[in-house]
C-alpha cells in the first residue's frame, strides 16, 4: 500500500532523512522504531505532505504523492495522527470529529462516522460536548485517532501515540490498534515505546539518524533483545 | 566639522573667488534667471489643499515668464515638499536655502509647519513671502525678512467679530473649534475683544481634526441655545458639524472663518443647501468663483492648469506672487536681497489680484493685507453673495 524509496527531507539546511526506504503492505501494522532525533516524526510528516521531500519517492496506493500538498494526500486516503495531536482546542469533541470527515465524506456519512468512533472510544462519547482543550492526554490521543478515522483512511499513520500517557491508557491504545487492524485497517506506527510497538506490529523497521538500520518481522524480536536495544539507544 | 567638509568649503571658496563676478554674487540670481523656492504640503492628506494653493502662485509666475520675465530674467521655481509637517517643512526650507540657493522663498500653507521653519529665514536672511498660512506669530512680531499678503488669523477673527456685532439680536455665542494653532490664532483677537462688544460666549466646543461625527458638539450647542454659532473649524469638520447640526435641529446663524469661504464646496460636503442656508463666512477674495471680479485671475489659472478643479484655494497664492513680482520689478536690474526687501517695504496700495485687500507694507509692517469681507449663499443656494463687512438680510 505504501512504498517509501530513498526519501530525503529536512528543515532548512539540516537534513533529517538521508534516503530512507520501507514498505507497508495492505492490512498490516508496520512500526518504525527509533530513538529521539532518529527522524521518525519527520518521516511521518513528509509522507503526509507537511514537510517537503527533497529527494526520493513516496508511492501510496499506486500513485506518487511526494510532491502533493497535504490536503490532496489526505483526500487519497492517508490520515496522520500526529505526535502533538493537533486538535482544535476551542471546538467540542463532536466538532473535531466532524472536521475529520468533512473533506472526504458527505454530511450524512459523518453522523454515522461519529457513532462509529464513539463505539470504539466510549470515553469520547461521554465528553462529546466538551472542548478538546479540556480533555486529558489519553482522551486527546483518542480524539486525534478518532478524528483521523473519520475520513475512513486506507492508511492510518500513528506518530508516537503513547507519548506522555500512563500504562493503563497505553494498554487501552494497544487494544484499540489491534481492533482496528483486525477490522482491516492498515497502520504505520512510529514509536519509542518498544513494548507497544511489538505488541501490535507485524513488521518492524529500526531507524537511526535518518536511515533504516535494521528490519525484521515483529514476531522474531523481543524487547529484551540486546542488539535491538543498542540501536534504539 | 570634519576635515573633508572644511576642505570642500575651502575649495568652494577658491572656486567662487575665481569664477564669480560681483554682479552675480547674489544667491539665486543669474543673468537670465531668478530662483524662487516654493514649498507646501505636496504629500499627505493636506496635499488636497497644497496643490491648488501653490498652483495659483505658479500660474502668476508662469504668466510673467510668458510676458518675458522681470528685467530680462525668467523666474525659475524650485519645489520642495513640507507635507504639512513641522520637521519636514523646516528641512524643505533648509534645502531650498542651502542646496538650491534660491533668491527668495514663497510658500507655506500650514501654520504650525511654517512657524517651525521661521527660524531658518531669520537666521539665513532669506526673503520669505508666506503663501497661505494664517498664524499671526509667523509675521508678528515682525522680522525683516518675513512678509505676508494673507489675512492673518487675528484679522479673520476681527472680520467675524465686526460682522457678528451687526447681526440684530445676537448676544450669546457658541464657539465650535478645532484644537490647534490655526484655530487659536483665529480666536486670539476675537477672544480679547468680544466682551467689549457686549457679547458673551456661552459654549466652547471642540471638534477633532478629521472628525467624521459631530453629534456631541451639535447637541452641546443645541443645549446651550446660543443666538449665533462661531465655526472655527477646517472645511471637512465644518461640513460634518453643519450636517449634524441640521440632523439634530440646531438653528443658525453660523459664522465661519475664511477657511470655509468656499461656501458652495461646503454645501456639497455638508450634503445640500439646507445645511448651509444660514452660514456666513469671512472671505479675503474679491468675489466668489465665477464672479466678474475674479475673471482675470480665473483665466490665468485655467490657462496654466486646465485640468484642475477651480476652487477658492486656487487663488490663495496669487496675491503673494503678484507682490513678489511687483517688488522684483521695483528692485531693478541689479537685484539683491536687500534691494528686494526695500522694494517690498515701499509697496503702497499694491495690487493683491483676486484678494479683497490692497497690499500695504512699510518698514515696520509685514502683514500686507488686513481687510476682509463676508459671504453667504443666495436664497436658492446656488450662488455666493458678497455681503461686505456687515450683516444684511438676504431676500
Amino acid at each position: 500500500m505504501l512504498t517509501v524509496t530513498d526519501l530525503e527531507a529536512g528543515y532548512g539546511s539540516i537534513k533529517v532523512l538521508r534516503g530512507i526506504g520501507f514498505t507497508v503492505p495492505a492490512g498490516k501494522v508496520v512500526a518504525l522504531l527509533g530513538g529521539n532525533g532518529a527522524g521518525k516524526t519527520t518521516t511521518m510528516k513528509t509522507i503526509a505532505g507537511i514537510v517537503a521531500a527533497t529527494a526520493g519517492q513516496v508511492e501510496f496506493d499506486g500513485r506518487r504523492i511526494e510532491r502533493e500538498p497535504s490536503h490532496r494526500i489526505f483526500a487519497r486516503g492517508l490520515a496522520l495522527v500526529p505526535q502533538g495531536r493537533e486538535l482544535f482546542p476551542e471546538m467540542t469533541v463532536i466538532e473535531n470529529l466532524e472536521l475529520g470527515g468533512l473533506a472526504r465524506r458527505s454530511t450524512t456519512e459523518i453522523a454515522a462516522g461519529i457513532a462509529g468512533v464513539f463505539a470504539q472510544f466510549p470515553r469520547l462519547a461521554e465528553r462529546a460536548h466538551q472542548r478538546a482543550a479540556t480533555l486529558s492526554g489519553g482522551e486527546q490521543q483518542m480524539l486525534a485517532t478518532g478524528r483521523a478515522l473519520m475520513s475512513r483512511p486506507k492508511l492510518l499513520l500513528l506518530d508516537e501515540p503513547t507519548t506522555g500517557l500512563g500504562p493503563l491508557i497505553v494498554a487501552e491504545l494497544i487494544r484499540i490498534v489491534r481492533e482496528l487492524n483486525r477490522g482491516g485497517q492498515t497502520i504505520l506506527l512510529v514509536e519509542q515505546n518498544v513494548r507497544m510497538a511489538l505488541a501490535v506490529a507485524d513488521y518492524v523497521y529500526i531507524i537511526r539518524t535518518g536511515e533504516i538500520v535494521a528490519e525484521s518481522e515483529a514476531a522474531k524480536l523481543s524487547d529484551r533483545d540486546e542488539m535491538f536495544r543498542s540501536y534504539l539507544g | 566639522m570634519s576635515t573633508r567638509r572644511i576642505g570642500a568649503g575651502i575649495a568652494t571658496l577658491v572656486l567662487a573667488g575665481l569664477l564669480a563676478t560681483p554682479a552675480l554674487a547674489e544667491p539665486g540670481v543669474s543673468a537670465t534667471t531668478i530662483k524662487i523656492g516654493m514649498f507646501g504640503p505636496l504629500t499627505g492628506p493636506v496635499s488636497v489643499y497644497g496643490y491648488p494653493i501653490n498652483n495659483g502662485a505658479i500660474a502668476i509666475y508662469n504668466e510673467i515668464n510668458a510676458k518675458g520675465g522681470i528685467n530680462g530674467r525668467k523666474l525659475e521655481i524650485v519645489h520642495e515638499d513640507g507635507a504639512c509637517d513641522p520637521a519636514k517643512t523646516r528641512a524643505a526650507v533648509k534645502k531650498l536655502i542651502s542646496r538650491d540657493e534660491v533668491f527668495l522663498i514663497h510658500g507655506g500653507s500650514c501654520s504650525a509647519a511654517v512657524f517651525a521653519a521661521r527660524e531658518e529665514f531669520v537666521e539665513e536672511k532669506v526673503p520669505f513671502m508666506v503663501m497661505a498660512a494664517t498664524m499671526d506669530k509667523i509675521s508678528d512680531p515682525m522680522d525683516k525678512y518675513i512678509f505676508t499678503t494673507t489675512l492673518p488669523g487675528s484679522g479673520d477673527g476681527r472680520v467675524m467679530l465686526d460682522f457678528i456685532k451687526t447681526i440684530p439680536g445676537v448676544k450669546r455665542l457658541a464657539v465650535v473649534r478645532n484644537k490647534n494653532e490655526w484655530a487659536d490664532a483665529k480666536l486670539e483677537k476675537f477672544n480679547a475683544n468680544y466682551k467689549a462688544a457686549g457679547l458673551e460666549v456661552i459654549a466652547d466646543v471642540e471638534l477633532a481634526r478629521n472628525a467624521t461625527d459631530a453629534t456631541t458638539q451639535a447637541l452641546a450647542v443645541k443645549q446651550a441655545n446660543p443666538d449665533a454659532t462661531l465655526l472655527v473649524t477646517y472645511p471637512g469638520e465644518s461640513a460634518v458639524f453643519l450636517r449634524d447640526a441640521l440632523k439634530y435641529g440646531l438653528k443658525g446663524p453660523y459664522i465661519g472663518t475664511n477657511g470655509i469661504m468656499d461656501v458652495l464646496d461646503l454645501k456639497d460636503r455638508a450634503g445640500g443647501a439646507e445645511a448651509v442656508k444660514d452660514v456666513y463666512v469671512s472671505a479675503f477674495l474679491k468675489g466668489p468663483i465665477g464672479s466678474p471680479e475674479m475673471k482675470e485671475w480665473t483665466d490665468i489659472y485655467v490657462k496654466q492648469f486646465p485640468n484642475d478643479k477651480l476652487q477658492s484655494l486656487s487663488f490663495y497664492g496669487m496675491s503673494g506672487a503678484l507682490t513678489v513680482v511687483a517688488a522684483l520689478e521695483k528692485a531693478g536690474k541689479d537685484l539683491t536681497r536687500e534691494k528686494f526687501i526695500a522694494a517690498l517695504e515701499s509697496i503702497n496700495k499694491g495690487n493683491a489680484g483676486p484678494a479683497f485687500c490692497e497690499v500695504q507694507f512699510a518698514k515696520d509692517r509685514r502683514q500686507g493685507c488686513l481687510d476682509g469681507t463676508m459671504w453667504t449663499l443666495s436664497a436658492d443656494g446656488n450662488t455666493i453673495v458678497n455681503l461686505g463687512p456687515s450683516w444684511k438680510k438676504i431676500k
Partner: protein
C-alpha cells in the same frame, strides 16, 4: 443632554468600529498579523460604493452588495498575490507588507479619484426622526441594522457552514487543519476575502457619515484596532461588542464630560481595561495549545 440621542449616535459609529474590528480580528486569528492596510480597504469599499451608486447609477442595495463583493474579491487577490508566497515568513514581515499595501492602495485610489473630496449622499436624507426628545438619524439606523445583519450572517457562517467550520479549525490549529484535509491556502484567501468584504461594507456605510478621500480610513482603522484590542484580538463576538462600546464611550464622554477629550476617551478607557484585563474583555489567557 439627551442620553438616548447620544446612545443611538454612539451605536451607529460603534457598529462601524465593530465591522473594522471584525475584519482585523479575522486576519489576526488566522495569520497572527494585524492588517495595517485595513483602513484603505474601508476607503476602497467607500469609493467602490460611491462609483457604483453615484457614477454607474445602480440602486443602493445592489451597489452595496456589488461593492462589498468586489471588496471581498480584492481581499482574496491580495492574499493570493501578496501574502501566500511569504505565508511562512515571520509575522513581522507580513505586517510590514500590510503597511506597504496600505500605501499602495492609497496610491491606487488616487489614480482615478485624485485629491478631491467626494460626498456620498445619505441613503435616507438628513432629517432626523424624533422620538420624544430623542433625535435619531435615519442613516444611523441603516448603519446599525446593516452592521448587525452582517455580524449575524458572520456568526451563522462560522457556526453552520462547512467553510466556516474549516476557517475556525484553521484559526485554532493550522497543522491540524492540514491533517484533516483542509486546503489551508484556500482558507487564507477566503479569510482575507471575508475580512475585506466586511471592511468594504464598513466603507460603504461610512461614506455618508464621513467624506470620501483616499486617507479616510485612518481614523476608522485606529478605532477599529482599539475595539479589536479591547475585545481581546482573537474574539469575534468580542470585536463586535467592543466596537459598540468604543462608539458609545466616545459619545457619552464627549456629550457629558468634554468634547475636548472625546477622540482620546476610548483609548483612555481601553488602557484602563487592559490594566485589569490584559487579554481584553473577551480574550482568554493564552492557553497551552493541545
Amino acid at each position: 443632554m439627551d442620553i438616548a440621542t447620544l446612545l443611538v449616535a454612539g451605536l451607529a459609529n460603534g457598529s462601524l468600529y465593530s465591522l473594522m474590528a471584525l475584519g482585523l480580528v479575522l486576519v489576526y486569528k488566522t495569520q497572527d498579523v494585524i492588517n495595517f492596510a485595513h483602513g484603505e480597504v474601508l476607503a476602497t469599499g467607500a469609493f467602490l460604493g460611491y462609483t457604483l451608486y453615484k457614477v454607474v447609477g445602480l440602486p443602493y442595495p445592489i451597489a452595496f452588495v456589488v461593492a462589498i463583493l468586489l471588496g471581498g474579491l480584492l481581499g482574496g487577490l491580495i492574499e493570493r498575490i501578496a501574502f501566500r508566497p511569504i505565508a511562512h515568513h515571520p509575522h513581522i514581515t507580513l505586517a510590514m507588507v500590510t503597511v506597504g499595501l496600505s500605501f499602495a492602495l492609497k496610491g491606487a485610489l488616487r489614480i482615478p479619484y485624485g485629491r478631491d473630496i467626494y460626498v456620498f449622499p445619505p441613503l435616507m436624507g438628513h432629517t432626523p426622526i424624533m422620538v420624544g426628545a430623542t433625535a435619531i438619524s435615519p442613516q444611523s439606523i441603516v448603519t446599525i441594522v446593516v452592521a448587525l445583519m452582517l455580524a449575524g450572517a458572520l456568526f451563522a457562517f462560522f457556526a453552520y457552514t462547512t467553510m466556516g467550520k474549516q476557517m475556525r479549525a484553521t484559526q485554532q490549529n493550522i497543522t491540524g487543519a492540514a491533517l484533516v484535509g483542509i486546503n489551508t491556502g484556500r482558507i487564507f484567501s477566503f479569510t482575507w476575502a471575508l475580512s475585506c468584504l466586511i471592511g468594504a461594507a464598513a466603507g460603504v456605510l461610512a461614506g455618508p457619515l464621513s467624506l470620501l478621500y483616499p486617507d479616510m480610513g485612518t481614523n476608522y482603522l485606529l478605532k477599529g484596532f482599539a475595539a479589536a484590542v479591547l475585545g481581546g484580538l482573537e474574539s469575534v463576538p468580542g470585536a463586535m461588542v467592543a466596537g459598540l462600546i468604543v462608539g458609545v464611550i466616545e459619545m457619552l464622554f464627549g456629550g457629558l464630560i468634554s468634547t475636548a477629550f472625546q477622540e482620546v476617551s476610548a483609548f483612555f478607557i481601553i488602557i484602563i481595561v487592559l490594566m485589569f484585563r490584559p487579554h481584553g474583555l473577551f480574550g482568554q489567557k493564552p492557553v497551552h495549545r493541545v
